[in-house]
Symmetry: C2
Subunit: 343 residues, 2 copies
């Protein structure tokens, strides 16, 4: 029972009609009698027919596949976003093609042409490092792109993101309210969103009339535990270490925890620590991490849906398809990694 390669022609022959009729029956074309449609649909099912997306794509010039470009797949934040994307796409009959840059220039150059070659209908840019050049490239192929948590780039027309400034403000104010004055920001190098969060942090410090000293900023080489540890090491090499550390994300906070605990510093009694994202492990750390919850899955879903709308607009041949921008808030999760200084 090898049913490989059943085509609409095979079905047509079996049904005693021609293949356009089969095509119409299978695509709910209006001009077809209900009886033959049912018969053909049943036959197609029996014969194990599976449409050939490649052929359809060649004809329609739409593949129903989307590309997603990110720095790494094995990042707890982005992999959750990806799950959201995949969820929406699957239910819409789209496929998701993923590619990661690993922050290598070479790959960044190669990936976009690869996506064009593959004929994806659109690209989700989840990698912070793309610049205008790359956007123009996609534009030149009329490939829509949706920026996910990646506002920094050019004049993107389609954007969805979590409000970094809102989140960092809540976290910073929380620490200030608890009485902290020497607060460090531990960010990540070469990251637009880390810069945004730092800006929000500084603004909130200033509005509270607290000193902001650059020596309490550190930009680590990676947004993971390795980078977090690296930053903590620096901050605790200072004469007057901070009493609280605002981390770029939860993943880095894990590394900060590691350093502090290894050096006998208690969280939160000696140092308060905050994260960002609320990844799955954050509430299971010891102590549970105070952080800002991002709606990661929903961010992915939203990105997927936004792209669906863009594609639908595009098909309607609107000459000026509306720009789209969605800003998600999030919620402050106060847990046990923060307390008043000196308590």
């Amino acid at each position: 029972m090898n049913k490989k390669n059943v085509t609409i022609k095979d079905i047509a022959r079996a049904a005693g009609v021609t293949h356009p009729t089969v095509s119409r029956a299978l695509n709910n074309h209006p001009a077809i009698s209900e009886t033959t449609r049912k018969q053909i649909v049943a036959l197609a099912h029996d014969m194990g027919y599976v449409p050939n997306a490649t052929a359809r794509g060649l004809k329609t010039n739409r593949t129903r596949a989307l590309g997603a470009i990110l720095q790494r797949i094995d990042d707890p934040f982005w992999s959750e976003v990806l799950d959201g994307v995949e969820s929406v796409l699957h239910s819409e009959g789209y496929s998701l093609i993923i590619a990661s840059t690993h922050s290598e220039k070479k790959r960044e150059k190669e990936l976009l042409p690869a996506m064009v070659e593959r004929g994806v209908d659109g690209v989700l840019l989840m990698s912070p490092r793309f610049r205008e050049e790359q956007c123009r490239f996609l534009d030149s192929y009329n490939l829509p792109m949706v920026m996910v948590n990646n506002e920094g780039v050019g004049e993107s027309r389609f954007v969805i993101l979590t409000d970094d400034e809102y989140g960092i403000t809540l976290l910073t104010r929380h620490l200030i309210d608890m009485g902290h004055t020497r607060i460090a920001y531990l960010g990540k190098r070469n990251s637009a969103s880390s810069r945004n969060r730092l800006a929000g942090f500084r603004a909130e410090m200033q509005s509270a009339r607290l000193p902001v000293d650059k020596k309490y900023f550190y930009h680590a080489s990676a947004g993971n535990p390795i980078g977090g540890r690296e930053g903590a090491e620096y901050l605790f090499s200072l004469d007057k270490p901070p009493t609280a550390i605002v981390c770029y994300n939860d993943f880095m906070a894990v590394g900060v925890y590691n350093f502090l605990q290894e050096n006998g510093l208690r969280i939160p009694e000696d140092v308060s620590v905050t994260g960002f994202d609320n990844i799955l492990i954050s509430s299971y750390l010891y102590p549970p991490l105070t952080t800002f919850h991002q709606y990661k899955f929903e961010l992915g879903e939203g990105a997927g849906r936004m792209m669906m709308e863009v594609l639908s607009d595009q098909q309607k041949n609107l000459e000026s398809p509306p720009a789209k921008k969605v800003i998600l808030k999030g919620i402050l999760k106060i847990r046990s990694s923060t307390t008043s200084p000196g308590s």
Copy 2:
């Protein structure tokens, strides 16, 4: 400068040749003069030509795309494996299409036909729950599949995996050597590899003439911190709780840590804990987790490469393509979450 849709015909026209000649030039066909080839290649470059994979796929019946099916993307173990897969595929000019089942029957049914429809050249099965029915389905379309850490299924011809029994034996023996006798196994329901690990655990216990009591086995609903916490709660509701817990994986151990620490139990003084996988955070936990390192990235790379070989065999029309099986070992990482009981 909208260079959308430059085809080989366009290039042919510009070069004063016919399109098959362009095709030959671009595909390094032997029968073509070096001069015209160079000219055409240069022209193609200038015109911003990007081949159309869809059209090529229709003709060649090979898409140079692979599907990967897993339960969830946002799992620290699998996302690292995925990164390895993607890395190999990209360098071979293949694309990676991912789909996750979320352990839902409905999706499990839908995903395979979707892959067939999309015309992938092969499928990487990273989801433990596939059964023979699904394998036969893929077989009926001549779609090769590679099982990744997923041996339990039928008579798979292409398999790559980490030696579960080897790993669990090392961990168990490590605990036994330290003097533990009441050791619990905390697994995951409906998981072939969890069953394998349990079997290895039991065997090692028995060979050490230690009692194995079913009440010290628990199979949690999920292989993540939630499941880990669930299991720890159960184990510490027992009259005589274990002095050591062997967890199915590191992710679950995070939940175990959480429960123990919240209840004032010290790791490892009161309870020793081991994981499996050595995910990124494991060495950053407090205390750093004793675990078994799986070569996750390499597992993904190996799976990708194995599929490349299978496809290459398939193209050679070998009537009996050789079966393939790769078993990776791994290494015991003794850290600070284990010690002798009562120390």
